[in-house]
Symmetry: C2
Subunit: 141 residues, 2 copies
């Protein structure tokens, strides 16, 4: 198995609501056209997808029933503490729940968490040790 | 918020078990050294991380309690149907549960799902329409 994550898909309760959050709110580019069943967002190295939750479970042949902590977090790393604050404020203004206000954290960085419309957790983090390449990827992990 | 997923972290029940699966089994490169609390795997564009589940929930200030379908799937896209079969066989040989045997699927591709040691779902998929760039990223989504 090649060392590659091609696509991450979030199963969402309301596709239109999630597209409104990510495309219209955060202004992320997507190839989505009205009426399509899935929305793809190129993220630079990985594709982020939104798909109805029940259909995603059906595709995997698993029960759609699940609740509580998913066990998975997504992180968006910034170039400054101020950018963390700005992103958290942007998400909050779009109605995202602030799960953990941005704060200094034990590993020396500055980080907060918000939840998207389905409750999926996004960490917004600044690590002064992170080095980014020209594609905006962290290159020293 | 920049259109960027920097890190995806899986909260795992047994870090050593998960490292054995991904590093020793799948032969993925990691900067992990024995005794560290988190394992980072560079995936080309996004960093894949393994971290104890309870600590991950604590970091987000959420309850670690959760069960059932996470709502999230990870996909590994291949260059051929034969590669799907090979990856599924490799995962199965490492003890991964085959959740959906590889098969022709409604969107015209060929895909299967396996579960990692914590039950996180990996889809292994071939889409003849996918175009990959020189970094192995899907460039037409």
């Amino acid at each position: 198995m090649r060392q590659k994550l091609s696509v991450i898909t979030l199963g969402v309760a309301d596709l239109a609501r999630s597209i409104a959050f990510y495309r219209d709110g955060l202004k992320w580019r997507t190839t989505y056209k009205d009426g399509e069943g899935i929305a793809w967002f190129p993220m630079g190295g990985v594709v982020f997808a939104l798909y109805p939750r029940a259909a995603l479970a059906e595709d995997a042949l698993v029960s759609p029933v699940g609740s509580g902590f998913t066990g998975i977090t997504l992180a968006h790393n910034t170039k400054s503490e101020a950018e963390v604050d700005a992103v958290m404020a942007e998400a909050a203004a779009l109605g995202a729940k602030i799960v953990k206000p941005a704060q200094k954290v034990f590993w020396g960085g500055y980080s907060g968490y918000f939840a998207d419309p389905d409750g999926y957790l996004w960490e917004v983090a600044y690590n002064s040790n992170s080095v980014f390449d020209e594609q905006d990827n962290i290159k020293n992990l």
